[in-house]
Amino acid sequence: MEAFAQSIEGGTIYTWVTSTSWLWPFMEILHFIGLSLLLGALLVIDLRMMGFFRAIDIRAIHTLLLWVFIGFALNLVTGILFFFGDPMRYAVHAGFQLKMVLILLAGINAVWYSWKIHPAMQEWDANVNPPAPAKLVGSISLVLWLSILLLGRLIPYVSTG
């Protein structure tokens, strides 16, 4: 990771990010809007999967995934640019590394959802109390994304390690 980070320093993107003064605050704003879209939509989906707010038709919640993807795409692009703008800081940062691992786990959880849970959901009643596997997937997603949110917010306050 450090070797990769070193290869970025001095490159075209690194130079662009570090020499454009408005870019960093602009990307932070987009990153915060992205997290609001991602978390906002996921809170609805995950809480419903966990069995809360049963007035919401569980067969329709997957339509909110559009906003999860838009938020994630926004944060992936801005996140990569943050990394390219300060590679040596992020590469060795334990909080950042853990955040990336948790995002990977959330991705695996999402694959499990789309492979095992989602196909079965269409047969359920609108206001059903979901079976245990769906509750588990929803709970794991919520815990992971809240942890990712907190780790991201604390990156500036935790020293590198």
């Binding site: 915060f32 609001s36 978390l39 609805v44 707010f53 007035a55 559009l66 917010r153």
Partner: protein
């Protein structure tokens, strides 16, 4: 201003500003609260503007009660963060804009909820647009505070 200086010297303000964990802890609460209130309110706005129409509007109402918990978390954590630099924050344009936009966003979101409860669909698109712009504007200005 005199009052704001005395706020800054209060025990709680000193804890927020000078303890190792006070500020990061409150910022963490503030971003979770943001995701809950702004995130869910924005979803309601997007639904009213035509996204994910298969989700019934009235089924959103219990969820909005939950969303206001996020608002309370952020009002409390926000006031505490404010105490540490009260006299400085009141002079910052992004801070003042943020507070104004949150006020507008919260009122409009409340009005939207009331209209859905009364099954009144008049002007919901316009209100949703104002709410969406106000919540996003509050986020933009909140982030800009760090750069002034």
């Amino acid at each position: 201003m005199e009052m704001l200086y005395s706020v800054e010297e209060s025990a709680i303000a000193l804890w927020v500003g000078e303890s190792l964990w006070g500020y990061p802890f409150l910022l963490s609460l503030h971003v979770v609260g943001l995701a809950v209130i702004a995130g869910i309110a924005i979803m309601l706005d997007l639904r009213l503007l035509g996204s994910f129409r298969s989700l019934d509007l009235e089924s959103f109402l219990p969820l909005m009660k939950f969303a206001w918990i996020g608002f309370v978390i952020n009002a409390v954590s926000g006031v505490l963060l404010f105490t540490s630099q009260a006299s400085y924050f009141v002079t910052l344009l992004p801070f003042l804009l943020k507070i104004g936009l949150i006020f507008i966003a919260a009122v409009i979101t409340g009005v939207i909820q009331q209209k859905i409860r009364n099954a009144s669909s008049t002007r919901l698109g316009l209100l949703a647009t104002i709410s969406l712009v106000a919540w996003l504007g509050a986020i933009v200005n909140g982030r800009l505070i760090a750069y002034f």
